[in-house]
Symmetry: C2
Subunit: 271 residues, 2 copies
């Protein structure tokens, strides 16, 4: 934990003029052909969240992954589009070599005490300690997380011709442990593998193209979590002509819904 955690190094933003930051890709959070999408989302989120003009708690974040990102430097522009009494809207753009590689919007606001109602409840699964860690022989971002699938793990002893369930439920902890905060939570909203590889039970070309996250916790709620694991669940409704939807929930170990996220995922048939 602390400022030297790989995640904090990977999400470092250097001020580069008004409304502008410089970031760098991180080998520690590299995916097969680009950065871990959750890290790109976390960088774009942080470009507004860490901006001196930001007011209010995080509420909503949309990240559009526009093009492949190469290893190296990225420039991020983050501008307040509108500030009201109780909410504030932001527009962000990530550039590499002058070309747009991602766009994003974010919203912040006051979170007053109001009527509360929580019809959704956390999945009922064995405790983190009682689920084995997903083995991962490779390097990159997956090594940075201790993922423990209680349901719908992405490895199959024998492929069936029928599509498998699109649903996964898993415990998620940073490795090494890191205290939860909003930049970390923003990254976790994109931690779920594309549902296409779960239903097809095989690797296919895929990638998130648009991700929207809603935050239901406050900074105080996240501080109270420390580095305890969170419980995530993801599912999908439809796989159709190259794209599928995906919806996810992130729960604290004591059953509080921290964030929900939705995404559209590009996929193609295996070659």
């Amino acid at each position: 934990m602390g400022i030297d955690h790989l995640f904090d190094l990977a999400t470092e933003l250097k001020p580069a003029g008004e409304d502008r930051w410089i970031a760098h890709t991180s080998d520690a959070y590299w995916n097969m052909v680009g950065p871990f999408g959750g890290l790109v989302g976390a960088l774009l989120f942080k470009s507004a969240y860490a901006h001196p003009k930001r007011e209010g708690q995080p509420l909503a974040l949309t990240v559009n992954f526009c093009a492949a990102i190469a290893k190296g430097e990225m420039s991020i522009e983050a501008r307040p589009a509108r500030s009201n009494r109780s909410t504030q809207h932001w527009t962000m753009t990530m550039l590499q070599d002058g070309e747009c590689v991602a766009t994003a919007t974010a919203m912040f606001g006051k979170r007053p005490e109001t009527f509360a109602h929580r019809p959704a409840s956390a999945p009922d699964v064995p405790a983190f300690e009682d689920v084995p860690r997903m083995p991962w022989p490779g390097s990159g971002w997956i090594e940075r997380f201790d993922l423990r699938f209680a349901e719908g793990q992405p490895f199959w002893a024998e492929r069936s011709e029928e599509p498998s369930s699109a649903r996964s439920t898993l415990w998620i902890a940073a490795d090494p442990p890191r205290a939860m905060d909003f930049v970390g939570l923003a990254a976790l909203t994109d931690i779920f593998f594309g549902r296409i590889i779960h239903v097809r039970q095989q690797m296919v070309p895929f990638g998130t193209v648009s991700l929207t996250s809603y935050f239901h916790a406050t900074e105080a709620d996240l501080s109270a979590l420390g580095s305890t694991p969170v419980l995530g669940t993801a599912d999908a409704r439809i796989f159709e002509r190259g794209f599928h939807d995906q919806s996810a929930e992130l729960w604290s170990a004591d059953g509080r819904l921290l964030a929900t996220s939705h995404q559209l995922v590009y996929y193609r048939d295996p070659a």
Copy 2:
């Protein structure tokens, strides 16, 4: 039907220079204190969709409602942020008197034939003809739709102290009828009342602040629907400190998932 339909008049965009359009609010689609949110979403969607540089089928749309919109003129800027071989990303801004009132992003792309799988299925409800139309004594946008609640109607004979179900399922038809297209579908993704009035069984201050829609149909699919009603269902997971989430599905009468949408809704306790 035809070019004189009120919806087509309300979504008219006049070219006003490169990447810029002028629109006007419509009394026919007015809400209590501003335009029907679905109409604002449809205008922002159309600003990219009708742009001469747009390539590909609609895939994703996010609309952020940043501030109140007054009756009168709106200026919309729509710019392609990035065009790739198979996808294209757009950024849009709606201004009124030079101030940002809404931001949006949209994504378009090719929809090749691929593996398809549809784990979600349409709600099982009585036919459109067998459900009574929701009575509506007022004027404005609700008059423009024939809404028939099969489940979770927003009127309550007697208020209970316990929160009601957040789920509604309803048939939706334009009144007068209008052939389905993507501009119309974009509007329908925001047709569902804020779940807060369903669970509280009373009117409270509320409004959508961010809306994300994913499109699972193609232009050919929508053309084939003509003006037949669509079936919509909406639900929510959490109502917490002034904001709740909301997820919705729009189905064709023959059971095809046309679009899914997700939104964050602002609410306050009644005065």
